[in-house]
């Protein structure tokens, strides 16, 4: 099933490796005449007046040589920081979702494009007091454009969760990847890290050593860990990082109950092509077994390919509920009601895909469908983006979603990574809306006792349970879902509904309430956050 025919549009040619460089050389010559740099007048700031961003694109303070990711020469031309700032200003005014909330400031007042980019966003806050825009990023393009085979990364294959980032720190294993150094070292969910390379994880001062050990930068690094097993025993393990392949769908199973079979799967990322094949495999089993309910565990799923999330929604809801209806509609700012300003193509909704799309399964195969009218989703602050689109898309066609766990991250937004002069910029450019035109969940999907049809979703607040494996029927969140299914109410031991929840992406924002160290210490922190110094 996981194969694909070549697109034989043309006859194939044998080409030796020696020819590649010749081909590249022949392709890299013959550039067009250099465009004229922007005039002095164009580099003069008039508040509220914006030149076409193309007039400033690729005029760089330090033009790059070499090739881009497609093997083409970088388009950089001699320019200046001012050129780069004027491009940022015009580009933001054209494509930023909340362009009319940017305070227009003179680009000449900023000596670094990164500093200027920082102010090219809204300063508004949501109703809960969080910054409206928590996703305003940059990367060095060389760093951002690292290439991998889908799912490959250097590490141990252990997903860390920082229950408490500041001393006394609490770092646990959330899950591990099969055939990984972590699995080979018998690390399991719930294992607590006590020391890294001799440095005390709980109260130690050497944060650099702790981070270097937890997050190796490449394969072949060996680090020693003192760990505490879930039962309390301690042992020392040495792990050597390796290139690990992520397994996106794990623990798929069918749970027999007195009121019908319940399907369960842990789904950790939409961002790997194998997810398509693995989801189809799982749902074919669910379909053949005639399950009556489904629990999709998205607590650690931060998103990925939107099309795969559409396929997942289709497989849950089936063709009758989804045919001809919108899964997700990109909405840009009001200057672009009909056209994607980045691609130039006409805006059209992402449908509920009913067939395979060629990620890892040959295109055009009909997907299994469960035709369920409700689904349980295990959620947390790490449930983000394409995972939230899954929730929103289903709610848009009146499939009930019951959330068990914690509020989701709140990212109904997206952007196109855009390089200029060696910096890749991420500025929010669109919002995703469902069939009902709803996409306003900047504070996440909030778990409540009732459902408002928008961002408040019926469900139960249940703390993550590191004493049980994911997929274990005794694991608190899965157990709560199964209990809710039977009784229609939340288990007594669940968290109070009004508990304030942590929003990971607000942590470093100066305006965030969660920037308080005291609050942060009490919050549930996700993996990959930099450990903080002792107080």
């Amino acid at each position: 099933m996981s194969t694909q025919n070549a697109n034989w549009a043309n006859r194939l040619k044998f080409l030796g490796l020696a020819s590649i460089s010749l081909a590249l050389i022949s392709c890299s010559s013959g550039s067009d005449s250099e465009p004229n740099p922007p005039s002095e007048e164009q580099l003069s700031w008039t508040q509220g007046v914006f030149e076409d961003e193309d007039n400033f694109k690729d005029f760089c303070e330090v033009p790059r040589t070499g090739n881009d990711i497609d093997g083409d020469p970088w388009p950089d031309k001699p320019g200046s920081t001012l050129h780069e700032n004027f491009w940022l200003r015009s580009w933001s005014n054209n494509t930023y979702l909340w362009y009319d909330e940017i305070q227009d400031q003179n680009p000449a007042n900023f000596n670094d494009p990164l500093d200027y980019f920082d102010v090219l966003k809204t300063t508004a806050v949501t109703s809960s007091g969080n910054p409206k825009d928590r996703f305003h990023y940059t990367y060095d393009t060389d760093v951002y454009e690292q290439l991998v085979s889908s799912g490959a990364s250097a590490g141990y294959g252990a997903e860390w969760v920082l229950l408490q980032a500041s001393p006394p720190r609490d770092v646990r294993v959330a899950f591990t990847e099969p055939n990984s150094p972590a699995t080979n070292a018998n690390l399991v969910r719930g294992v607590k890290i006590l020391e890294v390379d001799g440095v005390d994880m709980i109260n130690g001062n050497d944060v650099d050593t702790l981070n270097a050990g937890l997050f190796p930068s490449s394969a072949g690094e060996s680090h020693e860990f003192l760990i505490e097993e879930p039962g309390g025993a301690t042992r020392t393990v040495t792990m050597t990082s390796a290139v690990v392949t992520t397994d996106p769908v794990q623990n798929e199973k069918i749970i027999a109950t007195g009121t019908g079979d319940v399907g369960y799967l842990t789904f950790n990322t939409f961002g790997i092509v194998d997810a398509e094949a693995e989801l189809i495999d799982a749902f074919e089993t669910f379909e053949s077994q005639g399950i009556s309910d489904l629990v999709v565990d998205l607590r650690y799923n931060g998103g990925g390919f939107l099309a795969i999330s559409s396929q997942l929604a289709y497989m849950v809801a089936g063709s009758t509920a989804t045919s001809g209806r919108t899964y997700n509609q990109q909405v840009f700012n009001d200057q672009h009601p009909n056209t994607n300003p980045v691609t130039g193509s006409a805006l059209s909704p992402t449908p509920f895909y009913s067939t395979s799309l060629g990620f890892s399964v040959n295109q055009g195969q009909a997907l299994p469908q469960l035709n369920l009218n409700r689904v349980f989703v295990l959620s947390d602050g790490g449930t983000c983006s394409a995972s939230e689109a899954f929730i929103n898309g289903l709610r848009g066609v009146d499939i009930e979603v019951i959330l068990i766990g914690d509020d989701t991250c709140g990212k109904p937004y997206g952007f196109y990574a855009t390089d200029n002069c060696g910096i890749t910029y991420f500025t929010i450019q669109f919002r995703g809306e469902n069939e009902k035109g709803f996409g306003d969940y900047a504070d996440g999907f909030v778990i409540g006792g009732s459902d408002n049809g928008q961002d408040v979703v019926r469900g139960c607040l249940v703390a993550d349970d590191f004493d049980h494996l994911l997929g274990d029927e005794q694991e608190a969140r899965l157990a709560a879902a199964l209990s809710y299914r039977q009784t229609g109410s939340c288990p007594a031991a669940t968290k109070p509904l009004q508990q304030e929840t942590y929003k990971p992406s607000s942590r470093y924002d100066e305006n965030s309430l969660f920037n308080s160290a005291i609050l942060r210490d009490r919050m549930f922190l996700k993996q990959n956050l930099i450990l903080s110094e002792p107080k």
């Binding site: 194969t3 006859r11 040619k13 044998f14 990367y139 690292q146 990364s153 392949t245 961002g271 990925g304």
Partner: protein, 127 residues
């Protein structure tokens, strides 16, 4: 003295093969049958060359269970969450194909077959 004629003959063969064309049906989907660090290194070098010399990380088991090799930008995280949480585009895909006893990486974007030296492969059936 002997080397020079051999090099000339070898070059002729390479040039001849560079111009050779085959019918599409002659090459079939395949998976690697002798996966090893050496075969992964050859694939890594080839794909890096296709991408203009960029460094690239391949999983050690690529093309052993499927004939599709998907290349994408490594997932980056900010504050524990993926930067690109709603990816709109398909990743670039290559395919492993077999013709007679030879294995090739096919790049549909450039419509080019790249011959592989150390990799042995087995034809697989397409459902």
């Amino acid at each position: 003295m002997v080397l020079k004629p051999i090099l000339v003959i070898t070059s002729v063969v390479l040039l001849a093969s560079a111009c050779k064309t085959i019918e599409p049906a002659q090459a079939k989907p395949a998976v690697i049958s002798n996966s090893s660090p050496e075969t992964t290194a050859e694939l890594t070098q080839l794909v890096s060359t296709i991408y203009g010399g960029r460094s690239i990380t391949l999983a050690p088991d690529v093309l052993t269970e499927t004939n599709i090799l998907s290349i994408q930008i490594a997932p980056h995280k900010k504050d524990g969450l993926p930067v690109m949480g709603a990816i709109q585009e398909m990743p670039r895909q290559f395919q492993l194909l077999k013709h007679e006893d030879d294995c090739y990486l096919y790049d549909s974007q450039n419509d080019t077959l790249y011959p592989l030296e150390t990799i042995r492969c087995s034809q697989i059936k397409i459902p």
